[in-house]
């Protein structure tokens, strides 16, 4: 008899996570949280185009949330950790599952986005660290960082072409990542129906485009001097 014990609560969670489906579900749920954050974050930041006062006011509002902010940070951090851990484990699994590569392998259905998830992910992850150091804690901005004046920090930060370039690349990759990730998330959570799946795929594409255009527009606008 197959002896698979899934009775106790701890065992149940461990078994769930042990399975290839469980890891994908963790990827999907954490991805859901992160992609939701990315959208909200973008809309918040787009207030850059409404001027210094508006953006700084928004930042102040966020800071004033206090415990709630830390709770949100905790959720986001957990989601990121889970997403990255599961991704790393799945990447290892992928290599284990096919130890000998094909001499010749064609891709018939795999989109560019799906094929590149495995490196768009880590680059976006690295970008995330840089982004926090850049605008949240300020180390990457050094002396120019003024705590509380987000508008200033953003303008100064993006006036550096190298930094802006990294932002643009990373956000294009993020958009591509979402392009596959958002639809994939639904599929992993078991949402697939001939009636709705084409719409979900369209939604994922729109999502990717919106995030991409929205996030790239900010460094670009600063670089070309549209926002000063």
């Amino acid at each position: 008899m197959s002896s698979i014990a899934v009775n106790s609560g701890l065992n149940r969670t461990a078994t769930f996570y042990h399975s290839v489906v469980g890891k994908k579900v963790v990827m999907a749920v954490s991805g859901f949280v992160l992609s939701g954050f990315v959208l909200g974050h973008m809309f918040g930041n787009l207030q850059l185009f409404q001027g210094r006062e508006k953006l700084n006011h928004y930042a102040e509002m966020l800071q004033s949330l206090g415990g709630l902010l830390w709770f949100a940070r905790f959720v986001l951090l957990s989601a990121a950790v889970l997403h990255i851990t599961a991704a790393f484990q799945l990447w290892r699994l992928k290599n284990e599952a096919r130890p000998q590569a094909y001499v010749k392998k064609a891709h018939i259905a795999t989109s560019y986005a799906a094929r590149t998830m495995i490196w768009s992910g880590p680059i976006v992850g690295a970008f995330l660290v840089y982004h926090i150091l850049h605008f949240t804690t300020g180390q990457a901005l050094g002396d120019q960082f003024i705590k509380g004046d987000v508008y200033h920090n953003v303008i100064v930060g993006f006036q550096n072409p190298a930094a802006s370039f990294f932002y643009i690349i990373a956000n294009i990759l993020l958009a591509i990542h979402l392009y596959h990730g958002v639809w994939s998330m639904f599929q992993s959570l078991g949402v697939n129906h001939p009636k709705y799946t084409p719409k979900l795929k369209t939604l994922a594409k729109v999502y990717g485009w919106v995030i991409g255009i929205g996030n790239v527009s900010m460094p670009l606008a600063v670089l070309v001097g549209l926002v000063k």
């Binding site: 284990e96 590569a101 697939n192």
Partner: protein
């Protein structure tokens, strides 16, 4: 027509393999791909060389025995077609092709283009059935089945277990195969009693057999000779999530007292 073949030759599971180049000068557009390999093998035998080993049986696209990679695609370029039904008219004189076995940790190579797919049987044994002993069945019409459900179960049940889905998957996942069985039985009223247990056990067995996970690339669906849809994979995830939350494996047999 002349066909140039680069074929993966591997003596047995433990030896190293390599690509060997062959020419089939007298191929014919009416031949099936396997008949073209038969011609090559007859020639090799006459020359005293070891013929190329490949799996095949019914040669009418239903037994699921055949299958190898042609230019990186399981069963070759013709969609919805097993390699035994692929005909040479889809190729051109002078074409050079690369033939490799299906590659996955769970599908170890036995010889040349032949692999061991018994992991599939073990997954079915872990729960891919309805437990009904011979003789204990009620009348066939005792339980009406919604036609749509029956048709969708049949769509999933059309899987021939060839393994092309695993071979094409960038992660060597068996999700399409496993989900086809979970969908087949899970959409029928007869299959409800064991639905949780089936999803739970089959997914864990698939994991333990060393198959990868699904990244929803759709590669499997594109190469499946029977058109099995990845919609089934979503259904498997659904069933597995639900089973993980609620299913309890029985602890002891109880016993008639």
């Amino acid at each position: 027509m002349k066909i140039i073949l680069n074929i993966w030759r591997q003596q047995n599971a433990t030896s190293a393999g390599r690509m060997v180049r062959y020419e089939v000068p007298n191929a014919n557009e009416h031949m099936s791909f396997l008949e073209m390999l038969d011609v090559l093998n007859e020639e090799l035998t006459r020359k005293g060389e070891d013929p190329v080993t490949f799996e095949h049986d019914c040669r009418e696209g239903i037994c699921g025995c055949c299958g190898f990679m042609i230019d990186g695609v399981p069963h070759g370029p013709q969609r919805g077609t097993t390699v035994c039904q692929l005909h040479m008219r889809h190729f051109h004189d002078g074409d050079e092709l690369w033939l490799e076995p299906f590659r996955a940790k769970a599908f170890p190579v036995i010889k040349d283009l032949m692999v061991d797919r018994s992991a599939f049987d073990r997954i079915i044994a872990s729960g891919g059935f309805i437990s009904v002993n011979t003789g204990s069945a009620p009348d066939g019409n005792a339980l009406p089945v919604i036609k749509k459900c029956s048709d969708m179960a049949m769509d999933a049940a059309a899987c021939i277990g060839c393994g092309a889905c695993v071979a094409s998957c960038p992660n060597a996942s068996a999700s399409l195969f496993v989900s086809a069985k979970i969908s087949h039985l899970g959409q029928l009223p007869q299959g409800q009693a064991e639905r949780d247990r089936r999803a739970s056990r089959m997914v864990l067995k698939m994991t333990d057999e060393g198959f990868g996970y699904c990244t929803n690339t759709g590669e499997c669906e594109a190469v499946c000779p029977k058109g099995i849809k990845i919609e089934n994979i979503a259904r498997m995830h659904r069933d597995y999530i639900k089973a993980s939350a609620t299913f309890r494996e029985e602890t002891s047999g109880g016993g008639a007292g």
